[in-house]
């Protein structure tokens, strides 16, 4: 029996961003004793960085809006690869999820008649994003955080203890999802029995025993060099699910946000919100040309303005004009910027110009885009009310993730495992629209919490036991970096985890980045194999108490697993669609529309011995998706569907 501290809960939520907190609230409100584990302090999750808003068809700014229009926009944005049932639930439930936030104390910007104001965003037909200036994510996280505190206050009143039914374990990292053994459970993969974690502050290990685990860990951006993501985004949840035997879906689709800061170098990649364009900002190249008019793809031709005059009129009169092409979905804009820079029409620091200074009075800019004003002023010495910003693509979001059941957020193949938010795949297809992330967190966070609570309740006392062998193995795995010095000299010297991380980021950025080529991705897989071998020797100095070198050494396992998924899937998909652009296969291919690529651990015992560069750790399988339900297809014109769907799909 391992001497590790243990506690029992009904539901454990891994991650305390929007999805995790919403899941925890739901589970607790449905009677489940719920624990949340997060790597940072409570309230610091990456969700705070979301700027633009929450997409929900409340129809406050334009009464023509409704869930069907939102669904259509989402499917178009994702190039019809979306798990359509998720897109449907998302569009239907988003307004309720936003309104509910107001009852928990959120204060959104208002319309003139006192309702929630909604702003324009790329790919959304109507102004749809509920927002608070450009700090919507902060408002969301704070509201959910304060709702959790409100529930804890209720529990205190009733039980005398704030944490009797809902507890946040902050600054703790989960390294393994535990399961009962296959023979006990009658399920091939085994059922969830808890999680193994360490406390970052003390380095102590502990186990939370629980029959239901919700993974809500966000994304993978820290595997790329230029990214808008924080250090937390090391693909932990993706890796936890893989290691527990669950498949990941569509990992080739990585969103490069078109507008990240490009200068100074230390802030390269930090996000410049899409609201800048939604509110009237325009993109220009070094010749002063609004180049986006040259990049409207065929599938979107009818929906976007053909002249600057028409585009400019749209802000005032959207019913009689078409939107400017600066508001195309993110993948299109990112590729266009990339092309302009490549053609030698970039800005001095290798981006393009994003200008609001000539489009709005200074005082309006400061009011509508306060944190952008602040960010450029403080970090780049640029006054955006007087001069243009320099921007370029930055790794922002992964559309791929844990394959889940649409209605329940249950991970496929592992009973008791759920996933919501960025770590879950399917919802956004091949490309996510801005604003659809915060709504996704709320809609599916709630669903995950709900079904996790229900699952735990249904098991009652018949909970899967924790397998001691797995606990011991997890402890040994977590301690390995400290003994790296002691490995035989023949294998090689200990490796610096920071160096390994930098090499990984460089490789992913250069070889599996925004524009992909077959040869480069093969090279990437070789590099990943090399890094995998070296990562086994990642060694750290010092001791277990708040040791960032050790933490990084452990996170490397996750980044390497996830990076391999991205590279393998990207190599396999021989077309360009959304967040996956192949130079050697530049067109979208209708035959690929209903194909999902699933990544699974090659060695299902979960051992990390797979150091063979050719085989690697990941097996890839193809899966044909369910046909889109007829009543949902009927929301589109036939002429539009022809562009996306294969002949035989149309025929049915």
């Amino acid at each position: 029996m391992s001497v590790v501290d243990r506690q029992q809960w009904d539901v454990v939520v891994v991650g305390a961003g929007g999805a995790g907190l919403r899941a925890a609230i739901e589970a607790r409100e449905r009677g489940a004793r719920t624990a949340v584990i997060c790597k940072s302090l409570f309230g610091k999750a990456h969700t705070v960085m979301a700027e633009g808003g929450i997409a929900a068809s409340m129809g406050n700014a334009n009464s023509h809006d409704n869930w069907q229009v939102h669904f259509r926009d989402t499917m178009r944005g994702g190039k019809f690869l979306n798990q359509w049932r998720m897109a449907e639930l998302h569009a239907q439930e988003a307004p309720e999820r936003v309104w509910e936030l107001e009852t928990w104390g959120a204060l959104f910007d208002r319309t003139k008649d006192g309702r929630i104001s909604q702003r324009n965003f790329g790919g959304h037909e109507y102004p749809r994003l509920a927002h608070v200036g450009d700090r919507t994510g902060l408002e969301l996280i704070r509201t959910l955080q304060q709702k959790i505190v409100a529930l804890q206050q209720e529990d205190k009143k009733e039980t005398g203890d704030y944490e009797s039914r809902l507890k946040v374990y902050q600054e703790c990292t989960v390294t393994r999802v535990l399961k009962d053994t296959a023979s006990d459970s009658g399920s091939a993969a085994g059922r969830v029995s808890g999680v193994f974690a360490y406390d970052r502050e003390t380095g102590r290990f502990f186990v939370l025993e629980a029959p239901a685990v919700v993974i809500a860990t966000g994304g993978i951006g820290k595997s790329f060099k230029v990214t808008s993501n924080s250090w937390e985004y090391t693909g932990d949840g993706h890796a936890l699910a893989l290691l527990a035997g669950a498949p990941l879906l569509n990992m080739e689709f990585v969103q490069f946000h078109p507008t990240g800061m490009v200068w100074p170098p230390s802030v390269k990649g930090i996000l410049v919100t899409e609201s800048v364009r939604g509110d009237g900002g325009v993109l220009r190249n070094s010749e002063g040309k609004r180049f986006m008019f040259d990049y409207v793809p065929d599938v979107f031709k009818e929906k976007y303005a053909e002249s600057e005059e028409e585009g400019d009129r749209w802000y005032e009169d959207p019913d009689n004009n078409r939107r400017p092409p600066e508001l195309l979905p993110r993948d299109e804009v990112a590729r266009a910027i990339n092309s302009e820079v490549k053609a030698g029409r970039g800005s001095p620091h290798g981006g393009v110009f994003l200008d609001v200074s000539t489009r709005m009075p200074a005082e309006v800019i400061r009011r509508r885009l306060p944190s952008m004003y602040h960010q450029f002023k403080e970090l780049a010495d640029v006054d955006i009310t007087a001069e243009p910003m320099e921007v370029g693509p930055t790794c922002h979001y992964v559309m791929g993730g844990v394959a889940v059941e649409s209605d329940t957020a249950a991970a496929r193949g592992v009973p008791g495992l759920f996933a919501a938010g960025e770590v879950a795949g399917g919802m956004h297809g091949s490309n996510r629209l801005g604003g659809n992330s915060l709504s996704d967190l709320l809609v599916f966070g709630r669903r995950a919490g709900w079904h996790a609570a229900e699952y735990a309740t249904a098991l009652a006392a018949a909970r899967p036991p924790v397998d001691e062998v797995q606990v011991d193995a997890a402890a040994a795995e977590a301690l390995r970096p400290f003994s790296a010095e002691g490995t035989e000299p023949a294998v090689g010297p200990p490796e610096n985890p920071y160096t390994l991380h930098q090499e990984l980021q460089q490789a992913m950025n250069d070889l599996v980045g925004i524009i992909r080529r077959e040869g480069e991705m093969e090279q990437a897989l070789e590099k990943l194999a090399d890094l995998r071998v070296r990562a086994r020797r990642a060694g750290v100095e010092g001791h277990r108490q708040f040791n960032p070198g050790w933490h990084l050494a452990l996170d490397l396992r996750n980044m390497l697993l996830v990076s391999e998924c991205v590279a393998r899937a990207a190599l396999e998909r021989t077309e360009s669609r959304g967040g996956h652009t192949r130079e050697d296969h530049p067109a979208m291919d209708r035959k690929w529309r209903n194909i999902n690529l699933l990544c699974q651990l090659a060695d299902p015992t979960g051992g990390l011995a797979a150091t063979d560069p050719v085989r690697g750790q990941i097996d890839l399988t193809r899966e044909t998706t369910d046909p889109i339900r007829a009543d949902l297809l009927a929301l589109f014109d036939k002429e539009e569907l022809v562009k996306y769907l294969a002949e035989e799909e149309l025929y049915e």
Binding site: M49, I270, Y498, Q545, F546
Partner: protein
Amino acid sequence: MSGYTAHFKVWRGDVKGGDLEDFKVEVNDGEVVLDIIHRLQATQAPDLAVRWNCKAGKCGSCSAEINGRPRLMCMTRMSVFTPEETITVTPLRAFPVIRDLVTNVGFNYQKAREVPAFVPPADLGPGEYRMMQEDVDRSQEFRKCIECFLCQDTCHVVRDHEENKPAFAGPRFLMRVAELDMHPLDAAEESGLDRKKTAQDEHGLGYCNITKCCTEVCPEGIKITDNALIPLKERAVDRKYDPLVWLGSKIRRRSS
């Protein structure tokens, strides 16, 4: 790019004690203090403990004291120092050290729990809330708070007075009370909760003598003293006489 070698002194140690450690470290154009701390981690001190997240001044994790002044490391540009200057980075003084630059900020989470939550109006359902922008402006300013706790760190009521901590919520959480009190639809009063009274009686508003230190260090530029604390004192005044309210209103009139 104009690189140079800077002299850093970084506090290293834990609950048992510690000391400033000297480092010579490379600095490049456009970098901030947090970049330099990261470079130290990657090249000289892999186990140097520091909290950080967004690196864009939005999450409030990387709070520390730079040359004695409470600041966010990610928003402190190296260009504000001369290349000859020694830069000293120490953990937040008002909170117990865990390790190196990381402190135990549990005090703040405890205080957060002691402020009663928003009370939704009984007669309005989701989707029925109507509020005018000008009525939410004031509370929205306070909701810009990123909880970096620099104001909690600098406030002299608790900075060197551990004994005041139990009775004093600190600027951040007094501002939270003000935010809820100014929320146009908060139904606390109808539910029998007098937020102004609790500010005074339970959260230690009276300890604040409006020296505005909190406002000065706020990276979000929130006018904590003028817009939250003084109005809260004014609102509380008919419950309890507070001479500082009188003084506060004088000062405010003069500065505006």
